[in-house]
C-alpha cells in the first residue's frame, strides 16, 4: 500500500469512527439489556403467562377476545391484535385513541377463554422502554431513527477502512499478537486490531441490519404510497367503514386463503400496516425461516371479504429478514450469550479506538517538542502506525 493511500484510509477510519463512536457506545450499552429483554421482563415480573390448560383446548371466538379487551377502554379503538409464534394461548391487543397512537394500551387476553389476563407494562416497564428508546430513536422519532441510521453507515465505513488498515499493521505479526512496548498504547493498538478483526463479520451484519431497521418507517410509508394506494383505487371517495366486520370471520377467511400458515398480527384500518378500508391480516409460516416471512391478506373491513392478497415487496421482506440478524433472538440461549459477548467485545474495540486517538494527540505533541526531526523523515508506516 502506498503511503498516500495509507494516509487516506487512516483519515477515513479516524473520522468515520470519531463521529459515530459515542453513539455506537450508547447503542452497544443499551443493546445489551435488549438482548435479554425476555429474561429481564421475567425478573421484573412483567412477563405475561396464560394459565395452563389442556393442550388442544379450542380457541375462543376472537370477537369475544377483542370485546373483553375493549371493555377496559370503551373509548379507545383497536390498533393491532397479535400472537407470538410460541404462545398461541394469548392474544395481544393494542388499543389507542387513534390508529397511530404512540401511547397505546397493551392488553393480554386469554385466547381460549376470552378473559383478560393482564395489562402488561408499557414496552416492558420504565427501564426497558428507556433503553429501547435510546437504542432506537434517541426519543426523537423518525429523525432520531434516521440519524442513528446515518451513524450506522459511518460505523460500516469505519469497519471497512479498519479492515484495509489491518494489513499494514499486522503484516509482520502473527495473528493475535499483542505487543507490550514502552507505552500502554502499543498493547491497546494490538488489542483493537485483534478484537476488531475477530468481531468483523458480526459487527458488519449487526451494523448493516441495524441501519436497515432505521428505514422501517420510511419503507412502510413508501409501501403505503405505492401498493396500498393501488389497492385503494376502487375505494376512491368512499367514506371510511362505519361498522367493522367480524374479526373472527376475517381470520378464518385468511387462514383458509393461506393454508399452513398462522396469524402473526392483524392491523386495523388506518394503521401503517393496513389501509383506511382494510384489515391487514399478516399470515406467517411456523418453521424457523418461514415464520419470519409474512403474507398479507387484505380484507375489506366493512364487508369482510378478501379484496387482495399479495406477497410483500422485496424491501419489506428484506427488512423482516434483517431484524433477527440484528436482534440475535433466533438461535436460543447460546446465541444470546454470544451476542452479548460480541457486543462487549465491540465496546472494547470502540473504547480502545477512542483511547488510541486521544493518546495519539499527546504522543504527537510530545514528539514535536522533544524531537526536532521532521515527521516525514520517519518511515511512512512507522509514522502512521504511531499516529493512528
Amino acid at each position: 500500500m502506498s503511503s498516500h493511500s495509507l494516509r487516506l484510509w487512516s483519515w477515513i477510519h479516524k473520522w468515520s469512527s470519531l463521529v459515530c463512536t459515542v453513539f455506537m457506545l450508547l447503542l452497544c450499552l443499551t443493546g445489551l439489556p435488549l438482548i435479554y429483554h425476555h429474561e429481564i421482563g421475567h425478573l421484573l415480573g412483567n412477563d405475561v403467562e396464560a394459565p395452563a390448560m389442556a393442550p388442544g383446548t379450542p380457541r375462543a371466538n376472537i370477537d369475544k377476545v377483542i370485546a373483553a379487551g375493549r371493555a377496559l377502554y370503551p373509548d379507545k379503538i383497536v390498533m393491532y391484535i397479535s400472537q407470538e409464534l410460541d404462545e398461541p394461548a394469548i392474544w395481544n391487543l393494542t388499543l389507542g385513541d387513534h390508529p397511530t397512537d404512540e401511547h397505546y394500551k397493551p392488553i393480554a387476553v386469554d385466547a381460549r377463554t376470552a378473559q383478560v389476563i393482564t395489562e402488561p407494562a408499557f414496552e416492558g416497564g420504565a427501564f426497558m422502554s428507556t433503553m429501547f428508546s435510546l437504542h432506537v430513536d434517541l426519543f426523537a422519532g423518525l429523525y432520531g431513527k434516521l440519524f442513528l441510521g446515518l451513524m450506522g453507515l459511518l460505523l460500516l465505513v469505519a469497519i471497512v477502512s479498519g479492515v484495509v488498515l489491518y494489513a499494514p499493521f499486522m503484516r509482520k505479526l502473527d495473528f493475535g499478537t499483542v505487543r507490550h512496548g514502552r507505552t500502554q498504547r502499543l498493547k491497546w493498538l494490538d488489542l483493537h486490531n485483534l478484537l476488531g478483526i475477530v468481531t468483523l463479520v458480526w459487527a458488519l451484519v449487526v451494523g448493516a441490519t441495524g441501519m436497515v431497521n432505521t428505514w422501517a418507517d420510511v419503507l412502510l410509508k413508501y409501501w403505503q404510497a405505492t401498493e396500498i394506494a393501488a389497492m385503494l383505487e376502487p375505494y376512491k371517495g368512499a367514506p371510511p367503514p362505519t361498522h367493522l366486520a367480524s374479526m373472527d370471520a376475517a381470520i378464518e377467511l385468511a387462514e383458509r386463503a393461506a393454508p399452513g400458515m398462522q396469524v402473526g398480527f392483524v392491523a386495523y384500518p388506518g394503521t401503517p400496516f393496513a389501509s383506511p378500508h382494510h384489515y391487514g391480516v399478516y399470515m406467517r409460516g411456523n418453521a424457523a425461516f418461514s415464520s419470519r416471512l409474512y403474507k398479507p391478506v387484505l380484507i375489506d373491513a366493512q364487508t369482510g371479504v378478501i379484496t387482495d392478497q399479495r406477497a410483500l415487496p422485496w424491501y419489506l421482506t428484506g427488512l423482516l429478514i434483517s431484524q433477527p440478524l440484528h436482534f440475535g433472538d433466533y438461535g436460543g440461549g447460546w446465541m444470546k450469550f454470544l451476542w452479548a459477548l460480541l457486543d462487549l467485545a465491540t465496546i472494547v474495540v470502540l473504547g480502545s479506538g477512542l483511547y488510541l486517538w486521544i493518546k495519539r494527540g499527546r504522543a504527537a505533541q510530545a514528539a514535536r517538542s522533544t524531537r526536532p526531526a521532521p515527521e516525514s523523515a520517519q518511515p511512512a508506516l512507522a509514522r502512521t502506525g504511531e499516529g493512528r
Binding site: 489491518y166 494489513a167 499486522m170 503484516r171 502473527d174 495473528f175 493475535g176 499478537t177 499483542v178 507490550h180 498493547k187 494490538d190 488489542l191 485483534l194 478484537l195 478483526i197 475477530v198 468481531t199 468483523l200 463479520v201 458480526w202 451484519v205 418453521a287 424457523a288 425461516f289 419470519r292 429478514i321 433477527p324 440478524l325 433466533y330 438461535g331 436460543g332 447460546w334 446465541m335 454470544l338 459477548l341 460480541l342 467485545a345 472494547v348
Partner: protein
Amino acid sequence: MNGAFLKLWGMPILLGLLTTIGLVSALLGDGIWDIVSAFALGVPVLAGLWYGLRGWRS
C-alpha cells in the same frame, strides 16, 4: 495464494466464514441448526477471548 497472504488473512477469513455460518444456520432451522450456529459463532468469540486475555496478561 502465497504464504504471506495466508499468514495475514488466513485466520480472519476462517473466523469470518465461521461467523457467517453461525449467523445463517439458526435462521434456516431449529434444533441442530441452532447448535451448529452456537459452535460456529462461538469460535470467533473464543479466539477473541483467548488471544485477548493472553495478550492482556503477558
